[in-house]
């Protein structure tokens, strides 16, 4: 399960609520629980919460603004969304100086280059690690005698900001062209979190493909089979990584097989593969999208531009990007060709063959 700020906000509040009911009569507990959902949604302030919980709620609000509203906003709307999100994050930090999600998200827009953001993340990582580890210990102590489930959740909630920090370092390292560094962070994430909520396996797959390390990719796939929730090797990231490797080895039949596989597994894949949209990366974490949805493929392709856009080519889409565009158009139906009109037009003479199909 990818990180979801709203759900995490809910989980934090539910945990706090459960703690507050310790020692109450069972009937009273049952009654209180029945009202929790409504109070969370409508009367949040009436629930028990710490400043850290309030700060995280603001993180969830900012995530919604930056990661889910901003990409679809008009320029005019963006002008109000951005300062609003900043205010929300600053307030979160003022409530909780150790609200690392807010600190990380706030800094993302202040850094002029990938490099400077990466350096920022790198410099503060030891502090984030130490504070989160301490918070985890504290949480374990406080919830020590209650249910395992509650203990696990309390510990997880304390650790997640550090995992997101590392995951952001991994994804920025990938963009900065530091693939071995990316793998170092991803491997650490996979060691720390058996569920791989951060989706380190996806970033790692792209990094192995960048290093043209097929053995590394095989080992990653084997490792992912042991994860509790995993589509083991058939997710879009892994398939795109394999596709890139086949293309780089110039094993074009294999690369074509993988294009077909993506088309088979993902709805509207032809259009996504042709368009190769570039989306802004999630600032809180990788966007939460349903597995094997059209959105998941679009997201994976957007992250995979580090692979597709490499090399010299006349379309400006990179060697693999251009090849993928032409291959996917060969799979397109007439309606899809019509939908991709603008893409085909941008191809110049290379698009002529497909224009015929659209008419």
């Amino acid at each position: 399960m990818p990180f979801d700020a709203k759900w995490e906000d809910y989980q934090r509040m539910a945990l706090r609520f459960a703690e507050s009911l310790d020692g109450s009569e069972p009937l009273a507990v049952a009654r209180a629980y029945a009202g929790f959902g409504r109070r969370f949604a409508q009367d949040r302030d009436s629930l028990p919460q710490t400043d850290a919980d309030r700060a995280f709620h603001l993180v969830a609000t900012a995530t919604d603004l930056i990661d889910y509203q901003l990409p679809f906003a008009t320029d005019e709307e963006a002008e109000t969304i951005i300062p609003h999100a900043h205010r929300v994050l600053e307030e979160a930090i003022s409530l909780d100086a150790n609200c690392f999600d807010a600190i990380r998200m706030d800094e993302a827009s202040r850094c002029p280059s990938f490099e400077s953001y990466y350096v920022f993340l790198q410099e503060r990582e030891p502090e984030v690690r130490a504070v989160c580890a301490q918070a985890r210990e504290q949480a374990a102590k406080e919830t020590g005698d209650s249910s395992t489930e509650r203990l696990e959740l309390a510990c997880a909630l304390a650790t997640w900001p550090h995992l997101r920090w590392l995951a952001m370092m991994a994804s920025k390292a990938l963009i900065c062209g530091r693939n071995r560094e990316t793998l170092r962070f991803c491997n650490e994430l996979l060691d720390l979190d058996l569920n791989d909520n951060a989706g380190a396996r996806y970033t790692a797959a792209l990094a192995y493909a960048k290093l043209e390390d097929e053995q590394g990719l095989d080992q990653l796939e084997a490792r992912c089979r042991r994860l509790t929730q995993s589509s083991a090797g058939t997710d879009a990231w892994m398939l795109i990584a394999r596709l890139a490797l086949a293309h780089r080895k110039r094993d074009l039949p294999r690369a074509r097989q993988l294009v077909s596989k993506l088309i088979e597994l993902y709805p509207q894949a032809v259009v996504a593969l042709a368009r190769q949209r570039e989306l802004p990366d999630g600032v809180f974490s990788r966007l939460a999208v349903p597995p094997f949805s059209e959105d998941e493929l679009i997201l994976a392709l957007s992250e995979a531009t580090v692979l597709t856009q490499e090399g010299r080519d006349s379309l400006g889409k990179g060697a693999l990007g251009s090849w993928l565009l032409q291959e996917s158009l060969a799979h397109a139906t007439r309606a899809q060709l019509d939908e991709l009109d603008d893409v085909i037009e941008g191809m110049g003479p290379l698009g002529t063959a497909f224009m015929g199909g659209a008419q």
Partner: protein
């Protein structure tokens, strides 16, 4: 490619074989005579075709020199005409000798397609060349046999097209194959390999290559090392490496900060003096796909005092834009 001198060698070595035993001094004399009027000695379709290739390469290079002052549109028009002419010249040579490997290589390159598209025909041509030349015994260094040089040129083109189409492992494999065939590596495939290893963040292979060539150092190896260390996140070492590149390669910093357009190699890399500014412009041009993949690299390098001032100083001395 110095096609005319290769033609002289081809013709002279054929004559030597025909004449039977010939002393070294005798061969030198023969070489001189052939050099004086090579066309007079030409005596086979192979040599005739190769002469056409030599002329085509010379014509192409002369046409290129005349394009320096053209504006962008005029340049690209002239370039298209130049490529079309080269392609026709190759057709002519191939009509006389369909096995002329250099004509076939230049013909593929003159189609001026994306490297991803060019690579297929180049790989096929490599197989053809191996089949064509495979029968003859291999000397310790293939470069010493003028008839084997086309194979090395084809491998160099395959390696570069692999590199330019983002296939770094293939680029280095083809480069290593060529170096194994010709350890003197006159065509400089080690430079493509060095950049590929830097891109693949393979420090072991990068160092092993450097050692094999006695750590001679070139614009490619110095730049490649800086990229490699930057990618590995070893920043103090990367800073030392980029300073080293700046200090050892004339105008290296300027070439990195202000890259210039370099046209397709037809068929191979133009000659440049070791560690010269011209070598730097070639290295930066070739490294471009790798530099683009490290988006903040140039910005980082510019931020280093030595690099910035060296570039500025070079521009002032040469009267270049800054």
């Amino acid at each position: 490619m110095n096609a005319r001198s290769e033609l002289v060698e081809r013709v002279a070595s054929r004559r030597r074989a025909e004449l039977g035993s010939l002393s070294d001094a005798g061969y030198q004399e023969l070489l001189e005579a052939v050099r004086g009027d090579v066309e007079h000695f030409i005596d086979s379709p192979e040599e005739e075709a190769f002469l056409l290739v030599a002329k085509a390469v010379e014509r192409e290079s002369a046409a290129r020199d005349g394009e320096d002052l053209l504006d962008d549109n005029a340049f690209f028009e002239a370039r298209t005409r130049r490529m079309a002419r080269l392609s026709r010249d190759c057709d002519e040579a191939l009509a006389i000798d369909p096995t002329c490997l250099d004509a076939r290589l230049l013909h593929v390159l003159a189609q001026d397609q994306d490297p991803d598209t060019t690579l297929g025909p180049l790989l096929e041509l490599e197989q053809t060349a191996i089949a064509q030349l495979g029968g003859s015994p291999m000397p310790a260094d293939a470069w010493t046999d003028v008839r084997l040089r086309p194979l090395l040129r084809i491998k160099a083109a395959v390696s570069r097209s692999s590199f330019d189409s983002a296939r770094y492992r293939l680029a280095s494999e083809k480069g290593e194959e060529a170096i194994a065939l010709s350890p003197s590596d006159v065509l400089g495939l080690r430079h493509t390999c060095a950049l590929a290893y830097a891109r693949l963040e393979d420090e072991t292979a990068f160092d092993a290559l450097d050692v094999r060539f006695s750590r001679q150092g070139s614009a490619w190896s110095h730049l490649g090392r800086a990229i490699l260390l930057y990618k590995l996140g070893r920043m103090p070492a990367a800073r030392r490496a980029i300073s080293g590149y700046t200090r050892l390669v004339e105008g290296g910093a300027y070439a990195l900060i202000k890259p210039i357009l370099i046209d397709t190699y037809l068929p191979d890399r133009p000659e440049a003096a070791p560690l010269s500014f011209q070598e730097a412009t070639l290295a930066v041009h070739e490294a471009d796909p790798v530099i683009c993949d490290v988006p903040d690299f140039v910005g980082w390098a510019q931020g280093i005092r030595d690099v910035w001032f060296s570039a500025q100083d070079f521009a002032n001395r040469k009267g270049f834009d800054w």
